[in-house]
């Protein structure tokens, strides 16, 4: 049971965090150059976005869940299962960002799911 809770947190909080950060960065806008002043300006703007803080908090939560999972299971089991974030990303992109997900991408998502299932049942 704990394994499902941990992986749900890793995948959902990790993907949710990335969606929040990408939403915040879209509001901030593109960096015009790699000049230190410009990077500082963009960073300060990003830190004033509530979405950024929500995203960072979720990603930190996901990281701690990853550490928790690694304390119990093998690395060669935990890391492949985190590939489920591709599945969450497709659903999240379609639901929250209004992205059109093509059937070809759904095929890829299905393949990732099958792969993760195999890894899961290949747990020795």
């Amino acid at each position: 049971m704990l394994v499902f809770i941990l992986f749900t947190i890793i995948v959902a909080a990790g993907t949710g965090g990335e969606l929040c950060v990408s939403r915040a960065m879209k509001r901030v806008g593109e960096a015009q150059s790699f000049h230190p002043m410009e990077i500082a300006r963009v960073t300060l703007r990003a830190l004033r976005q509530p979405w950024m803080w929500a995203g960072v908090a979720m990603m930190a939560f996901a990281f701690f869940a990853l550490l928790g999972a690694l304390s119990m299971y093998n690395v060669s089991f935990v890391v492949p299962v985190t590939a489920l974030s591709y599945v969450a990303g497709a659903f999240g992109g379609a639901a929250f960002l209004g992205e059109r997900v093509t059937w070809r991408r759904w095929v890829g998502v299905l393949l990732v799911t099958i792969g993760v299932t195999l890894v899961f049942f290949g747990k020795s």
């Binding site: 060669s76 492949p80 590939a83 093509t102 070809r104 990732v112 290949g122 020795s124």
Partner: protein
């Protein structure tokens, strides 16, 4: 206006002709559709697919050393947390993951996402390999098959293009 444009085109055309040698280099020489894989791209991807898995393996090492980690009650969780963040492999792992992230950002700033993403899914294989060789984990045949299918899935996902929200109008020359 139109005359001006034509004149400009003619000037450009003449310039092109005068600069480029008029030698037929054979089929496929006109449009360079496939740029050769640059050395810096190759090196950055190498850093990515090594630093990421190494970071995960180090985190795994650190957490195995710190286990059992109790999640409840909160006092125990705090104690476990302090034990975890006092270990050297955890910090090395975090450093390695930061290296991965910087390399990922750098390579994405000049290479296509749809190229970087499938190539970096090799990392799933590298993790299993390192887990098997370094940590002595048992990786069953079914798990290897699963990792291969995941890589295939990532490849198919990345072939769909990075942007689907807006489409460019059909090209009209």
């Amino acid at each position: 206006m139109i005359h001006g444009r034509i004149a400009k085109k003619l000037i450009l055309y003449n310039r092109k002709v005068s600069i480029e040698p008029v030698v037929d280099k054979g089929p496929g020489s006109g449009m360079a559709a496939h740029k050769p894989l640059q050395l810096k791209t190759f090196l950055m991807i190498l850093v990515m697919v090594l630093a990421g898995p190494v970071g995960n393996v180090l985190l795994g090492m650190g957490m195995k050393a710190a286990s059992p980690v109790s999640f409840w009650p909160p006092v125990q969780l705090l104690q476990s947390g302090l034990r975890v963040f006092a270990s050297v492999p955890i910090w090395l792992g975090i450093l390695s993951l930061i290296t991965f992230f910087v390399a990922y950002m750098l390579v994405l700033s000049w290479a296509d996402y749809s190229f970087v993403q499938p190539v970096s899914s090799v990392a799933y294989g590298v993790v299993a390999l390192l887990g098997w060789l370094v940590l002595g984990e048992k990786v069953s045949a079914l798990r290897w098959a699963g990792i291969a299918v995941i890589c295939l899935g990532v490849f198919v996902v990345s072939r769909t293009g990075a942007q689907t929200t807006s489409q460019l109008p059909a090209g009209n020359g």
